[in-house]
Point group: D2
Chain length 489, copies 4
């Protein structure tokens, strides 16, 4: 019952994106699989008995027995037991109990309500997923973008607004925008994952059971357990049966909003690959097929894939918002839906990976970039012309240049030729500096601060990424050794 | 590479809802798995060469060779080939080609673009999924509800609006509303699945390749292939590279809107199970655990599960709307997202199954129902009282009764006592018929047409379900024998 | 209190899209404003007393008094009264009562619960909005598209998949796809608006009050009232306090799914207007400004606007799905949200209008279309070449042509030149018909069935539009004269 | 053209929620109306010429002329001009220009692209809306909740999970959960509004025009302008034509996630008002009508309204995520949709106000609370019983108590009676402390840390609210005097 043909699964993550890529699978499985979830639950149950023993609430032998029991427990056994008792956490507790001495049994899961364990385990696995995979991979993508931006910081490209040629920028600067946007999302995700809350407050969150033996400070045990695990409680240890959902909501938002940035980048790049624009080229391996009927085709499918995954996962934020609502001390209508959340993170991590790989196969076509600048240089010059005239005090510069521009379009005469022939305007043109005249003659010089700003942006986010990477690797240690997490495969 | 531990998957469908239930899995796998999708693609490729052979466009031996090849092809092999050529349909075509004679090879997948095959295969699998599983199971749920409504057609229950006691109805009538709402959704899903479109119109939908040998009627081959498969083209065989997406959008809407009805039913029932209301009881087996810390708990978790699944899947309709948009003759941004659509149908089928099972464990607590009617009978009588007075011509009946009602609430005196003591009102009361006086004395008689309307509703939808079931089982046959669909397990 | 500076409103519909366009405002106000809603409620109240009088349930003078009262009632007065009684329908009933004789007063709104009136009024206003504005305008847009498709049925355009040049089609055929897709949506909207349900079944939908005087057939009055108004009840007159929401859900879906088609069309056109593609030109008036800083800019802002409106309104379908859920006999959590639904229809109608206007200003640039075909003709020829070779029995035609294609790309040699030089392939080429050779020499001939299919599509949908227009204008008449609907301005 | 009958608007905000409440309207209009938006745009245009003058880039007389011109400009005039030039920002610039001297004209809007002005104006208005209205009102609601929690910190209430009685808590603690959750959202909204970014970087965000006269540090002017307005640029002043959208996305998320908390609170309260639960009472004024047909009804419509508004506005977050995507240096598909964003903030502010008002009318029914505790005290005792037994070393305590519990349910015998009769269990019971025995005898004592934790939570958030209020009122001053913002009404 515990093995299945991968292609019999119904989720494309399982048969295609996550399940079909051994390296990606190996990286994500310790966090996003059901095996992983059970593993995290066991981690929390172990931390609980350790804490109990430390306070003399259970014999000091219990933790060792539980620790020894855990590696033997398989998800299959847990599910078998759940089929009997119809309760997932009771099933796990029973699997542990069946392996420890009769004396230890009563202390397994003692004081805890299921949600204490599950919500804490979820917070922990999301925190470690972000720390160990999601953020490192996203930072790696950011570094790829930084390198791309640096390499092309001076490559002049026509800026496009509304899909129409506007004024020049550089390709590096276009990428630097994404360095900045993804950078800010890295900060947001980093901040959000540090706020993830756990709990150990019992059936209705009022520490009822803990108060039985420590009426003065029953919340202390929650703080201690969570600290042992590298987590924290809500600001004043308040909760219902379940943790305040907002720390998960915020984390998911930070990821979804980053997903939108990836989708935007994907759109930008696939449009630059369009046949008519062709400023970027998506290189293909020799055996790759672009179309099953058109042998000449090469398609930007990686970028399309990222956009498509965004379409799939972005709307799931609505589920997360709906799951903020739980009646009274809790209803269970967030349970099944909450189980789908790891999919969103998996889909995001996959999109990051795919985007990184795709970017590494992109080549720029500077000839095309130049061609596009040249094609409309007689129009693109309109903005600097009007500003130079206005700066020199020419009245109504904008409207005059717009009229000349339209006249040029109609008569197919170069805007600058019309300007130089204009009796009034030409007088002002004469007064311009050589630098300004050069720009009017060759608007590809009109790139403003794009090169310098590209470099500044790359420098800034390189430092920031380094800072966050350092922070991640020095996060507080966990009481439970990492290696055990490989159980159950 | 093709087996995985089920618990290493990331989708809760795969490890828990679909993958963990052998009967459900066996029922759904032929439609919603990747194995199934490949199978349907192979069906379409076979139908294509059959049609080509019929028209003398390929040797008559080709279909037999392709038919013999198909059962040997495994998803694993297809994915292996895809890793080489980076194209899923070309990979499948190659898997066939590698098994047929050199003479037959050029005719495999000839004329077709990938989307011809994929979109047709998708339409076919969704059509058969609806016909063979989704609708039959939904009709079975409808029949369960019909029986429940009939059984309780006369069980008086207080009607509640805004969660406040209103006037009486019957529990059967409350269920009859769902008989009607789900009934209308069965009709909608049935209608939608008949409109699913396929295509065979080539790379940009203009039948370019078909025109090479039949310039006069190149669309004929599309109609024929689709007819062989039990499908149809768009109204005028127009398409881009891909089928007009609206037939899928409509089908998904019909399912999502039915999911909302299930969610509403689930909410209604779990609220009726609330401790204070307790008009319904969710029976439990002896070993079942309600809470890991509160041994006395029994929770309406099946109904919570249905609501939770709705939260997960309903927002995915947004993905379907976004996937209606594909640039020019098509972009690929609907590809990954489209792969997730079977999940929605799987989740829905699971919710139908779970709802059906949960309803069969529900018992009514008629004592509680009576208690609630009695508790507020002195208030509930307000509506019939005001209407009887108004019918007798008492001026301003509504406002007077509202005032009496509030006075009663304040003074804890029965509204009818106040009414009988009222000098003017009592005169009108005297004139009432015995039937009306009886209602005022015992408002549990004030159930209106609830019993009769319940029966009428059940009769109507029973007939309608029978009609649709007959229709489904006599749908046109397919050229490809059903039994082959078991390949690849 | 009843006038406001339009620019003080917060909804862009009110200050900009609907409120700023006198013709559009005049067309929509009778359906989508609060004035209109109150008007429809008054229509239903009048129809109710007419029906009561017909059955002798109220004096025959009542309808005339109510009819006389209605034109005097203003929304301002209704809101004033609502501020007093805190109930919108009671407020309207009071406004009527205050104007009729004491004898008539008790019969105003008698038997009805608020939801009877509101849900019926909503169904009626949506039905008439669709019949009188939404469908006629959408059909007008369809006719514009039909004309555009006919005009350009033969204008060869390169087909694009993944934004990459694929094989040729015609611009007319690209438009014909939208003729077909919008056509199918017209049918869907038309079908949905005919299914809109009203009710007259009382506080909990069980016809409690009606049973007081007609226990045998209390649902009869509902059917009769709805028939008078051109509506119908649910299949078996079942309801809770509120109408089964699915008929509204279906109508909204039909509109939202059509909105997605408009968004797709808008995307397609604005991409064809891109500077580098420029196959379409968005003509501008002389005074129009494209950019506040770039005097040369002309932007496809109408098409961007349609896409943007889709982004705003499409997600609101989620609200409609959530509003399908109402606890027990109803809760009120669909009340405020339901009030926003007319915005969605208003936004859609505006998008239809804007799209129609924008399309009329579009010009095609056939030179550019030709240029794009020519630019890649050496690649585009790959598909017909491989198919012709395969049809002649050339083994492995696809792979060979793919290899030649890549060689051509590398060496910048024409694919056909390479093919003719190829020792094997050239033999097969010699055998081709003159028509096929001509296509290989000039792939702009490779348009398949695009021209004929365009005409067939236009013919089909022209007839279908005519049929629906006839149907709409001959819909059943209403008991309440249309002209009164202008009250209250 | 600039006045309209309020009831002719189509947005329920305009005719009902925002437009119908004079105090709320007066409070919100300076931020959420079109008048307000134009006002903020004028503020930015003025700040721009001031900054230009400071740098000697325009005559020192220009700012004064512009400042004098602004109060005369009406939205109606702006729209009139826009109808002529088809460009909203050019229209505003023209309205200013028409009022200043010919010498000043060229300097109005000089260097700026429309998006510079609009995005900066939007950021500013959202920032001030949050600072001046949204946060103060939300903090007021928080203070209401704090008071409510304090008042009822000791009022014992049965905790409910899955709608089933669990173990006791206090009503104050149930409210304290919302104090904490809304508190964390206040922090999130406060943090987000401080991050709102503006820009002054020109047509493609590369400071092209600014580089014409200051090639070394063209970004300096952006920082300066934004500082004058109390805003800031992105981390490295990078942008495209438009500001990085993420600061708006984050702000909206913080508001939407708070809206979900309000919706949860609304649900909780309206369920506590249910007829059968009735632990809370929604008091009504004398004239208020609950139902148009049931004179006795009183409905929790304010809480339903809050939930309903959440349904309307929550899905709009999808629009915000979609609006993060803008092609290349920008497309305009976020323009119309972005105009609807103030509606979301308006709807939220209205919900906050309505919730605050509704909470002030709530009364608790402690008798009912006690009744519910008592009703199930024989079951509720199961948890403390099992834990006490386990603590004393009783083996398999959980399962034994579950069995006793079910036996008690079957035989209607009190769980504690069964426990005391049990030969083994009774021995352990004898050993319990008096405090523990008291709890078993009266489980209403089993409230854990609820009272203390309620107070701690209230104390914590009271301080935090004070801190944030102080911060808000001492935010940096703006160069433009507040009073001018009243223009245009």
């Amino acid at each position: 019952m515990d093995t299945m043909n991968r292609f019999d699964s119904t989720s494309p993550l399982d048969y295609r994106y996550y399940g079909d890529n051994p390296a990606f699978f190996a990286r994500l499985q310790p966090y996003v699989s059901e095996t992983a979830y059970i593993n995290y639950i066991l981690k929390v149950e172990l931390a609980l008995v350790r804490m109990l023993a430390r306070h003399g609430l259970c014999p000091s032998t219990v933790p060792r027995e539980v620790e020894a029991a855990i590696p033997e427990i398989t998800p299959d056994e847990v599910y078998e037991e759940e089929r009997r008792v119809h309760h997932n956490i009771r099933a796990i507790a029973n699997c542990i109990r069946n392996r420890v001495s009769p004396e230890s049994r009563p202390f397994v899961h003692l004081f805890a309500t299921s949600a204490d364990i599950m919500d804490t385990a979820s917070a922990l696995r999301y925190k470690e997923l972000v720390r160990d995979v999601l953020l490192p991979d996203l930072i790696a993508l950011e570094e790829t973008l930084i390198e791309l931006a640096r390499t092309h910081s001076d490559d002049v490209q026509i800026g496009r607004t509304h899909g129409q040629h506007a004024v020049p920028t550089t390709f590096g600067y276009a990428i630097a925008l994404y360095v900045s946007r993804i950078g800010s999302r890295i900060q947001a995700i980093d901040a959000a994952h540090r706020e993830l809350c756990g709990q150990l407050s019992g059936a209705v969150g009022a520490f009822n059971s803990w108060s039985l033996f420590d009426p003065d400070d029953p919340a202390k045990y929650e703080s201690e357990l969570l600290h042992d695990l590298g987590l924290k409680p809500s600001a004043t240890s308040v909760s219902s049966q379940i943790v305040e959902p907002e720390s998960i909501t915020d984390l998911t938002h930070s990821v979804v909003s980053c997903f939108s940035v990836l989708a935007n980048l994907a759109d930008d790049i696939r449009h630059l690959i369009r046949s008519e624009i062709a400023e970027l080229i998506d290189t293909y391996s020799a055996e790759e097929v672009g179309s099953s009927t058109m042998p000449h085709k090469m398609n930007p499918k990686n970028f399309e894939n990222v956009k498509s995954l965004w379409k799939e996962f972005m709307p799931r934020m609505m589920t997360v918002y709906m799951d903020q609502i739980s009646e009274h001390q809790r209803d269970l209508t967030n349970s099944a839906s909450g189980r789908f959340l790891p999919e969103l993170f998996t889909g995001f991590c996959y999109a990051v990976l795919r985007m990184g790989g795709a970017l590494s196969k992109i080549e720029t076509n500077t000839a095309k970039m130049k061609e596009h600048i040249d094609a409309n240089k007689h129009l693109v010059v309109a903005e600097p012309l009007y500003i130079m005239l206005a700066l020199k005090g020419y009245p109504n510069a904008y409207d005059e240049v717009m009229n000349l521009s339209r006249e040029g379009r109609r008569s197919s005469v170069n805007l600058m030729d019309l300007a130089w022939k204009h009796p009034e305007i030409s007088k002002y043109l004469d007064k311009l500096s050589e630098e300004h005249k050069a720009i009017l003659a060759d608007p590809s010089l009109y790139v403003g601060d794009a090169p310098a700003r590209t470099i500044a942006t790359c420098d800034y986010w390189e430092l920031e990424c380094d800072r966050i990477k350092r922070l991640l690797t020095t996060e507080e240690n966990y009481s439970y050794p990492k290696s055990i997490s490989a159980f159950g495969d």
